[in-house]
């Protein structure tokens, strides 16, 4: 328990070093653009693919449940329920967990490799604030681009549900569109947005913390990368409950 508290303390000390006015504005802008590409743009394909299929699966499961229910449920609820599931939980949480694996391992291993090959020492000795230089662009890129990824995920999930409906004829096109147009409470959108931002911050900073504090060689870089993904996922799951309880209840 004390060890865990120690790690939490070190994480916040690390964050304090990250949030310092960046040096070299031109270079900083360049880095943000590169991170947007590495952390965001390069994930669009994966996010779209997973969301398309998961949206289709969710819609089929909703149809099976509603059409087999004892009390009659109109077919347009299939689209409505699919949309709600995608917006509230699947896109922000499951996609963030997938990004924790993909992006988290990339962040931890790239920073970890810089540590063991003395590239971080080279930054420090030049007078560059290495935590800020390495992590701040990742935080900005992640917080800016993750909401876009989540929006893409929601859109692709709904498209998946629509396509599978058309392919199987389990529900009509008009019912699906009516269901999509049914209103959702505004606070649900706010909840999803807050969740996405918080998760993006965790995905950028926890793996960076692990990568930055690697000691040893390539084996330790691999280990820290694994730990980073595991702990980022654990934190996301706990944070999901905390935010849901705080905002929705």
């Amino acid at each position: 328990m004390l060890k865990a508290l120690g790690y939490i303390g070190l994480y916040f000390i690390f964050l304090k070093k990250v949030f310092i006015k960046p040096q070299g504005t031109k270079m900083f802008r360049k880095l943000i653009m590169r991170e947007i590409w590495d952390l965001g743009m390069s994930s669009i394909g994966l996010v779209s693919f997973i969301s398309l299929f998961m949206g289709a699966v969710t819609a089929i499961q909703m149809a099976q449940n509603f059409q087999g229910a004892d009390i009659p449920v109109p077919d347009y609820y299939i689209a409505y329920a699919t949309k709600v599931v995608l917006i509230l939980e699947f896109s922000p949480t499951i996609i963030s967990l997938i990004l924790a694996g993909k992006v988290g391992s990339y962040i931890a291993s790239s920073i970890g490799t810089m540590r063991v090959t003395e590239q971080i020492d080279a930054l420090d000795v030049m007078g560059v604030n290495s935590p800020s230089y390495l992590v701040m662009p990742k935080i900005i890129a992640s917080v800016l681009f993750n909401p876009i990824l989540i929006m893409i995920s929601i859109g692709m999930g709904i498209l998946g549900g629509y396509i599978i409906g058309e392919a199987t004829q389990m529900w009509s096109k008009s019912d699906f569109i009516i269901g999509l147009q049914m209103p959702m409470a505004n606070r649900h959108f706010v909840y999803t947005f807050i969740k996405t931002i918080c998760f993006a911050f965790v995905i950028a900073t926890v793996p960076a913390y692990y990568g930055y504090h690697v000691e040893g060689g390539s084996l330790e870089v691999g280990r820290s990368s694994t730990s980073a993904v595991v702990w980022t996922s654990v934190i996301l799951i706990i944070l999901n409950l905390v935010l849901t309880q705080t905002i929705l209840s």
Binding site: E118, D124, V125
Partner: protein, 262 residues
Amino acid sequence: MIEVKNLRKSFEDKEVLKGIDTVFEAGKTNLIIGQSGSGKTVFLKCMSGLIVPSSGQILFNGKDTSNFTYEERQKLRSEIGTVFQGSALFDSMTVRENVRFPLEMFSNHSAKEMNMRAEQVLERVNLTTESFNKYPSEISGGMQKRVAIARAIVNNPKYLFADEPNSGLDPQTAMVIDKLLHELTVEYNTTTIINTHDMNSVMEIGETIIFLKNGYKEWAGDKNQILTADNDAVIDFVYSSKLFTKLREVLLKEKQNSSNKN
């Protein structure tokens, strides 16, 4: 000039540096030699500010760094160029971008001026234009070392630190790197400190040498004195090769003959 007074560094209960006093002069290649684990790298890292000493003083041109403010420390760091053992080039950047990096971070030059300066120092370390747009993984170890040297000198540093700059290089390339560091030291009048355990480097560029053993400064002198030094630890270190043992015998004989004549 860098002056070190009673420098000590401990990691938990292990003392690595045990009270080192020495002076490194400007315009000279100052060598720190010693076996692996003798404390050379920790000593160099203490001077470059990567490790905070447990006690003692390091004075850069008479100014004690332990009393420095954050701004003073940053200013000092901009006056230090460091060549790391593994070159430590940024592998996401090309050769030119690596050398431009310190300028981009700390100067207000235009892109054209920065490119010109980067190319100037790259040419100074004898790199050809074909290599400028290559990534570190695409060039040889010797070329990587030269890029690291170019990056270290691009801001005209007052102090140049090199940690085993020719480790892993063939003897010929190692000699080229040694000569280059020596030439740059004279040209820019830098206080150059080089960590090495390579006797060829010692004999080539060792204008001032200190020998570390188990965290102590065991011996100090220059390349002309080291071959006839009467310190057992230095003798063990220098004469680990038969060639140098033979050389010592010849030199001692010469020394005896000349003293007999006198």
